[in-house]
């Protein structure tokens, strides 16, 4: 009795407290409504669709694990996974390495820093479609500028966009061009947070430039490097625009530009196989999650080793 008598006013009090905050709930509601309808619902619907057979128009048919069983035996899917991973490694490793070098150079310069920063950032705001068209023209076989250059120094021309490695190299060069400056600027901001007396101390202890970089800069920059690696992983595993614009729906000779996202796009919107497209998307999602967790784990381990 006493319990319910005290509980009722508390409940009423809480309700009144919630009601008193109606403007705040109203203020935050647009995001949650939009996310529920256009983010969460489609994502959940993906999982549902992956177990259906559907051409986008007729009735859906429950397919059980058929889509996934087919996927395991689907050589084209494995090819697309292989292409994606290769393109990702070939793009990300040089991008981040160059960015780090560039950031260290920028950090030690006093004049024109703002100018360089701006210049290095502009490639990143340029649309990927426009820049893919540009690189397609640059690497054209009969006489894009690159082949004209090779010819000028007496080397044979290369059919860049007609061979499996050439296609991947062009996409990698494009990515390096577009993302090196962006990552360098993020590293630079990180470098600026490292207190200079740490360097002074190490120098007094007799460290040279390489040792300073390895034992002071690199460990302190680790969280920021992780941040850029995670971003590059999430972005790189979803590569689509570059091969789509450079190569069109065939994805190039031997489909060597076919990435995972390109493959599920093509299955759904060119071949009207929505169920199978969704199954590929679900697997891509798992691959992205797996690699993100791997990245975290690697860097975490590195950190705990260091603190020991």
């Amino acid at each position: 009795m006493t319990l319910s008598r005290t509980a009722a006013p508390v409940a009423r009090g809480r309700r009144r407290r919630v009601l008193a905050y109606w403007p705040q709930y109203l203020a935050i509601s647009p995001f949650y409504v939009l996310f529920a309808v256009f983010g969460l619902a489609p994502l959940l619907f993906s999982f549902y669709l992956a177990f259906q057979r559907w051409d986008g128009i007729g009735e859906m048919q429950f397919a059980g694990l058929d889509n996934f069983q087919y996927l395991i035996k689907d050589d084209v899917f494995w090819l697309s996974l292989w292409n994606t991973l290769l393109i990702w490694v070939m793009s990300t490793v040089p991008t981040l390495t160059l960015a780090l070098v560039l950031a260290v150079l920028l950090h030690s310069v006093k004049r024109f820093k703002a100018f360089y920063r701006m210049a290095f950032f502009i490639p990143n705001i340029t649309s990927t479609v426009a820049i893919s068209i540009f690189f397609g023209a640059l690497f054209a076989t009969n006489y894009g500028l690159v082949n004209a250059g090779l010819e000028a120094v007496g080397l044979p021309e290369v059919a860049w966009l007609q061979n499996a490695w050439g296609i991947k190299i062009v996409i990698a060069v494009l990515t390096v061009w577009q993302w090196t400056g962006y990552n360098a600027i993020i590293y630079l901001a990180g470098l600026q947070t490292i207190p200079s007396d740490l360097y002074e101390q190490a120098r007094i202890d007799g460290a040279n430039a390489v040792q300073l970089f390895r034992h002071v800069t690199l460990p302190l920059l680790r969280p920021i490097i992780l941040f850029t690696v995670v971003l590059s992983t999430i972005g790189g595993l979803q590569t689509f625009t570059e091969p789509k614009v450079l190569l069109g729906d065939t994805a190039g000779t031997g489909q060597s530009g076919l990435t995972m996202v390109f493959y599920f796009y093509r299955q759904a919107f060119s071949h009207n196989d929505y169920g199978y497209g969704a199954a590929i998307a679900v697997v891509v999602l798992l691959v992205v999650a797996l690699f993100t967790i791997l990245n975290w784990a690697l860097v975490q381990r590195g950190q705990s080793e260091r603190s020991r």
Partner: protein, 274 residues
């Protein structure tokens, strides 16, 4: 090595980097001002030519350039305006009010960062079919009208920049939540809004896969989709496609150079803080 030669070497490398970063724009202009046959011969022409008007006419004949430019401007402007309004309102509530469920709701918001919703284009398209929005610009604007990144960023900004004492004073004068938002918060957070505005505008301008899927009417496209169409039809007429690419890139870079004085630094600072 003396200090001076070291400095010169350093600037030499950085200038080389700048040249590499800027070179595509130079070469785009060269291609857009020459004919394809001038460039695609050996040795190629390396300087500006006088074919720009012809190339422009070719672009305008092949795609509805101005129409798609207008669509892009509409989408980018509307999205940016809505994002700034909804995100700042939500950020204000999260930053300065301790309403029941705040922590949990903010946790959910952060969690949405890690969902690769870009992979949900297939069911996203199905939902647009159900709503009857396929082919309409609404399908691009409405889903993008509020986002977690902006709310997260502005909450931090409001938390640091808007003093509680000023809000208390406004409350004493009888200002409610929305009144405080308009007359206290918005004027103070203008620089933060400018940053988020530029960021959103660029993202909306360059967006590709979703417009490609959803805009099914050939006379109602955005610039990026029209450009890829130009490329797939006239892929070998390099001067023509490069003129289109150049035209699509110029407005954004111009805007960036005009308004983005602090943008690059702010972006990097934000990334480091996270």
């Amino acid at each position: 090595m003396t200090r001076r030669t070291r400095g010169l070497l350093l600037h030499g490398v950085l200038i080389l980097g700048t040249v590499l970063a800027m070179f595509p724009f130079y070469w785009m202009v060269v291609m857009a001002t020459n004919s394809t046959s001038d460039i695609y011969q050996f040795p190629p022409k390396l300087t500006f030519g006088g074919q720009l008007v012809t190339n422009l006419r070719n672009v305008l004949d092949s795609i509805d350039f101005w129409g798609s430019m207008l669509n892009t401007v509409i989408v980018a402007c509307t999205t940016t305006a809505l994002v700034l309004f909804f995100d700042s309102l939500a950020a204000f509530a999260f930053a300065k009010y301790d309403f029941p469920g705040r922590r949990m709701l903010f946790g959910v918001l952060i969690g949405t960062f890690f969902l690769p919703v870009g992979l949900a284009v297939i069911p996203g398209f199905v939902i647009m079919v159900e709503l009857g929005w396929v082919g309409s610009l609404k399908a691009l604007i409405v889903p993008a009208a509020a986002n977690a990144f902006g709310i997260f960023f502005l909450r931090q900004y409001i938390h640091n920049a808007v003093p509680d004492s000023v809000l208390d004073a406004a409350r004493l004068d009888g200002a409610g939540f929305f009144r405080q938002y308009l007359s206290v918060v918005v004027p103070i957070i203008r620089p933060g809004l400018a940053f988020l505005g530029i960021y959103t505008f660029i993202a909306a301008w360059n967006d590709f896969i979703w417009p490609l899927v959803v805009l099914v009417n050939p006379d109602q496209l955005t610039l990026q989709v029209a450009l890829q169409q130009l490329n797939s039809v006239h892929g070998l007429d390099y001067s023509r496609i490069m003129t289109g690419a150049l035209l699509s890139v110029i407005p954004l870079i111009a805007m960036f150079l005009l308004f983005a004085r602090n943008f690059v630094g702010d972006l990097a600072k934000g990334a480091v803080r996270e």
